[in-house]
């Protein structure tokens, strides 16, 4: 075997990536604010919550409800953008297995030759 696809199905993929993305966005905002001098202690104080509780939310060990997400965004001085849209359908879009440009083997021409050639 030279190739393994970790495929969990579209439904699980959608759920896992949404929750992961929310957590990453929060971590990114916290990291930015930390560089500007905000401590986790101060963040917890703003939220009137325990530091360990905030830490567990950021580490993914505690559930983040919509309310706590909004509270964290407020405490970090961030706006939330949220959108549901239909999947992209654009000409030339990436379909990973067919169009990967980082394969370790030489480029293979897969387009059929035109009759003129």
């Amino acid at each position: 075997m030279t190739f393994f696809r970790f495929d969990i199905g579209a439904r699980s993929r959608t759920a896992g990536r949404l929750m992961g993305r929310v957590r990453r966005e929060l971590l990114r905002a916290v990291t930015e604010e930390k560089q500007a001098g905000l401590t986790q202690q101060e963040l917890a104080r703003r939220l009137q919550s325990g530091r360990s509780n905030v830490n567990r939310q950021l580490s993914g060990e505690a559930e983040i409800t919509l309310r706590s997400l909004a509270d964290l965004a407020w405490a970090l001085d961030r706006e939330i953008t949220f959108e549901l849209r239909r999947p992209d359908q654009a000409a030339g879009q990436n379909i990973a297995p067919q169009t990967s440009t980082i394969g370790h083997k030489p480029i293979r021409i897969i387009a059929p030759k035109s009759p003129e050639e």
Binding site: F6, S12, R13, G20, R24, D88, Q89, T101, I102, H104
Partner: protein, 172 residues
Amino acid sequence: MFFLKTMIVQPMPTITDLVNNGAIVKIDVELAPHDQPLRLLYGTPQFIAWLQEILDGAGPARLLGQPSPAEQIDDLFHSFLSGEHLVFTRQFRAVRAEENAVWELKTPDVRIFGWFMAKDCFVAVFGNWTDIIKDHDLYRGYRIAIRRLRRELDIDATLCVRGVAPDDVLSV
């Protein structure tokens, strides 16, 4: 009388050699239509077998995160492969600050250990549950085993990133 000694120099293995001889297997996940694969991910056959166990429903005794372990791994692989910014120490870190370091990729319930063959090119060797690793302090054992594997594959000097700063191993 002269004896001519010829020394046969074995070329250092390349990534292609490692894939072709079965030492590592390329891993991917479904990418969204607008995603581009910007990084490379490989795993040893042992790691692939562990991934298969996850797909078959294996999980820790106590789940820490809200998503399932498989969902956490899919999200981690997706963000890695699509070139997203990973948060240093929260999502990846060097196990120990040393030359040819062993690195850890992290989710709430899962820890994955391996090394970077090149910038943006990770080989996963061991995966395990976070609480088991912490309870049994498996960091040192995994680190030593991964260093031994690299020596056995004869790639310690060629296919291993030396730095331990985040931008030594990830470009985005």
